[in-house]
């Protein structure tokens, strides 16, 4: 089946393979199956278009002057202008919102991982009375609709004096991400064989040392995937950021963008430039981490 005249696509080698085993497996697969069906490419191109057309249209609009947005309906602007970007970057609060979001999302990721990694480890490795009940309790909270508890959270925030602070956002996001992250990391820990811990314990290491020095480093791929998922969640949230924060200086991007709309009316050029500016950082995170996400998830999180 192998077509020797057509060398395998050069990017293959770099795309998928970890160790030698994976490489031979991939090579075997290629040899056996030959080239993918052309219909595969049709499907992939169609899906890519569906995915990026709204973004491309936004990008195109962001380079048009405000009057051109309503006359020039081409995908490539007849006249490029950077005026929209100048206004967004230097005369709006969008950079402030971006900084806030980076701070809150970063703190949330750190807090979530620190709290959840221990819980996940205990759930994966130890047997103790009340384990089933406590896991049930934690996982069931992901069924609580965020919208349902916004009013109570508002009261709690006001009573604790945390209303309109970064802290309340970090606390709420952390709590909301904990069930997902525990569940992902638990699956990941379960995929690490017990023999490693047994070996560590034979060598006389304590439970704590075995856990932090031997097992946690092995869980880095799973932690990375969980971290990205939590980060993107915070980056995109609107509800908490809009109800628990009132000071403009502490707004997050999703809310800031929406306010941009109400503040300036529908100015598509500026709005789409703002969208592009706010979407670029998160796209970078995603592109850099894409392989790790799939790899980290495949170990554990996909189990039922």
């Amino acid at each position: 089946m192998t077509d020797l005249t057509a060398p395998a696509h050069p990017i293959h080698a770099g795309v998928s393979d970890a160790g030698a085993t994976a490489r031979t497996a991939a090579a075997r697969r290629r040899r056996r199956r030959g080239k993918p069906n052309p219909l595969t490419y049709v499907g992939l191109v169609a899906a890519s278009l569906f995915a990026i057309i709204p973004l491309l249209w936004g990008l195109s609009t962001s380079f048009k002057s405000e009057s051109a947005t309503l006359s020039d309906s081409g995908w490539i602007p007849a006249q490029f202008t950077f005026e929209n970007y100048r206004l967004v970057l230097f005369e709006s609060k969008i950079p402030v919102y971006l900084g806030n979001t980076l701070l809150v999302a970063g703190l949330t990721v750190v807090a979530t991982i620190i709290v959840a990694i221990f819980g996940a480890y205990a759930a994966a490795r130890f047997r103790f009375r009340g384990k089933t009940a406590s896991m049930f309790l934690i996982l069931m909270t992901s069924m609580i609709p965020g919208i349902a508890i916004l009013v109570p959270l508002y009261f709690i925030a006001v009573n604790l004096g945390l209303y309109d602070s970064y802290a309340i956002m970090v606390i709420v996001y952390t709590a909301w991400q904990i069930p997902t992250v525990i569940w992902m990391l638990k699956g990941f820990f379960e995929s690490i064989p017990d023999s490693i811990e047994e070996a560590g314990r034979v060598d006389g290491a304590s439970h704590w040392r075995v856990m932090t020095k031997l097992i946690f480093p092995l869980a880095v791929p799973g932690v990375a995937a969980a971290a990205v998922i939590s980060f993107i969640y915070v980056w995109n949230d609107f509800l908490i950021a809009s109800t628990l924060i009132s000071t403009d200086e502490r707004r997050l991007v999703a809310v800031g963008l929406y306010n941009y709309l109400s503040q300036y009316g529908v100015v598509w050029g500026q709005l789409t430039a703002a969208v592009v500016v706010t979407v670029i950082p998160i796209i970078l995170v995603f592109v850099l981490m894409e392989r790790r996400i799939v790899a980290g998830l495949s170990a554990g999180a996909t189990k039922g």
Binding site: D17, W57, F118, L137, I149, L153, E290, V294, T302
Partner: protein, 322 residues
């Protein structure tokens, strides 16, 4: 797993592909071993590790939902909680045409989105798992909407289907001006499409991750036995992916039922209440009209839907396993 390249831990972890597991039901042997290893763990340590998680979710999720349930049973006026009135706040939801309409629209929205998103994610994951040229590029492009927030998605799509200026706006069609946001049915269609657009990537990633855990040997064995691609998919891939598909279905269902931001920013519930979902009712009653009791009642109904659907999936998954 095969996709992590530079991580040193990767070499230490046993290559999953090499230890052919007893495929469909791996948990029994390993959990037996785990029980042995777990037996000598001090209970204090285990509790100490899990307690912080419990405390955080108790304060931020469990106490508030109890508070919301309590609130839904009381009379309220603005921020003041009045006397106990039983289920009176629930009457507008279950006895008026508007309330029942919201329940119906929510079901249309959730089920319609699921019927599109789940097969789409499954299909795309299978395409993206093949050895195609530019695979990395396709993956990044196709998964990209994941990082677009609901607010941004609403803005971009509104602009895209703008009847006068948007490239996907249909403008005049057969003498009628087609405006997606002015027709209740079209608005629901648009809402579902945009909803699928923002939610299929994460589902695809989960499916893709699950696909990569399926040992290639199994598919090859089926191929040797003469199974074509379709039969291989139906009889090897799909059964092994079932647990993941349930997880995906649960996550999407919860996400869709509770969706506020997208609905609020794309259609605002209109036109003519055509996209007025339960979740939006909860948000508007609480934060626009300050009927906290009624808003809490909507929330409790949503919560009930989440629990019912979640429990149903878990039951299906369990009965499937046994």
């Amino acid at each position: 797993m095969a996709t992590v390249v530079h991580h040193p831990a990767e070499t230490k972890r046993p290559p999953v592909r090499q230890t052919p597991p007893p495929p469909p039901a791996p948990p029994t042997p390993s959990s037996a071993r785990r029980r042995k290893a777990a037996a000598n763990a001090p209970a204090g340590l285990a509790w100490g590790l899990i307690l912080p998680s419990i405390v955080v979710v108790a304060i931020v999720s469990i106490f508030p939902i109890a508070y919301a349930i309590n609130l839904s049973l009381h009379e309220t006026s603005y921020m003041q909680v009045g006397e106990f009135i039983g289920f009176e706040n629930f009457l507008p939801i279950f006895t008026t045409g508007e309330g029942l309409g919201q329940i119906g629209l929510s079901l249309v929205y959730v089920i319609g989105s699921l019927l599109l998103a789940v097969p789409l994610s499954l299909g795309l994951a299978n395409l993206l798992n093949q050895q195609v040229a530019f695979r990395r590029v396709f993956r990044v492009l196709i998964l990209l909407p994941w990082v677009v927030s609901q607010t941004v998605a609403a803005l971009l799509w509104k602009w895209l289907v703008n009847p006068d200026y948007g490239p996907l706006g249909l403008g005049e069609l057969g003498g009628n001006r087609v405006d997606f946001l002015a027709d209740p049915v079209l608005a629901m269609v648009l809402l579902i499409v945009v909803n699928v657009w923002i939610s299929y990537p994460l589902a695809t990633i989960l499916c893709l991750a699950s696909l990569q855990t399926i040992p290639e040997e199994l598919k090859e064995a089926a191929e040797v036995d003469g199974a074509g691609p379709f039969r291989r998919f139906m009889q090897v891939t799909l059964p092994l992916m079932k647990p993941t598909l349930f997880v995906v279905a649960i996550q999407l269902t919860l996400l869709y039922f509770n969706m506020v931001t997208l609905v609020y920013t794309l259609t605002g519930g209109g036109p003519l209440g055509g996209t007025n979902l339960l979740s939006l009712g909860a948000f508007k009653e609480s934060f626009e009209f300050f009927n906290l009791g009624l808003g809490a009642a909507y929330s409790v109904v949503l919560f009930a839907f989440n629990v019912i659907f979640g429990a149903a999936y878990i039951r299906l998954l369990r009965s499937d396993k046994s």
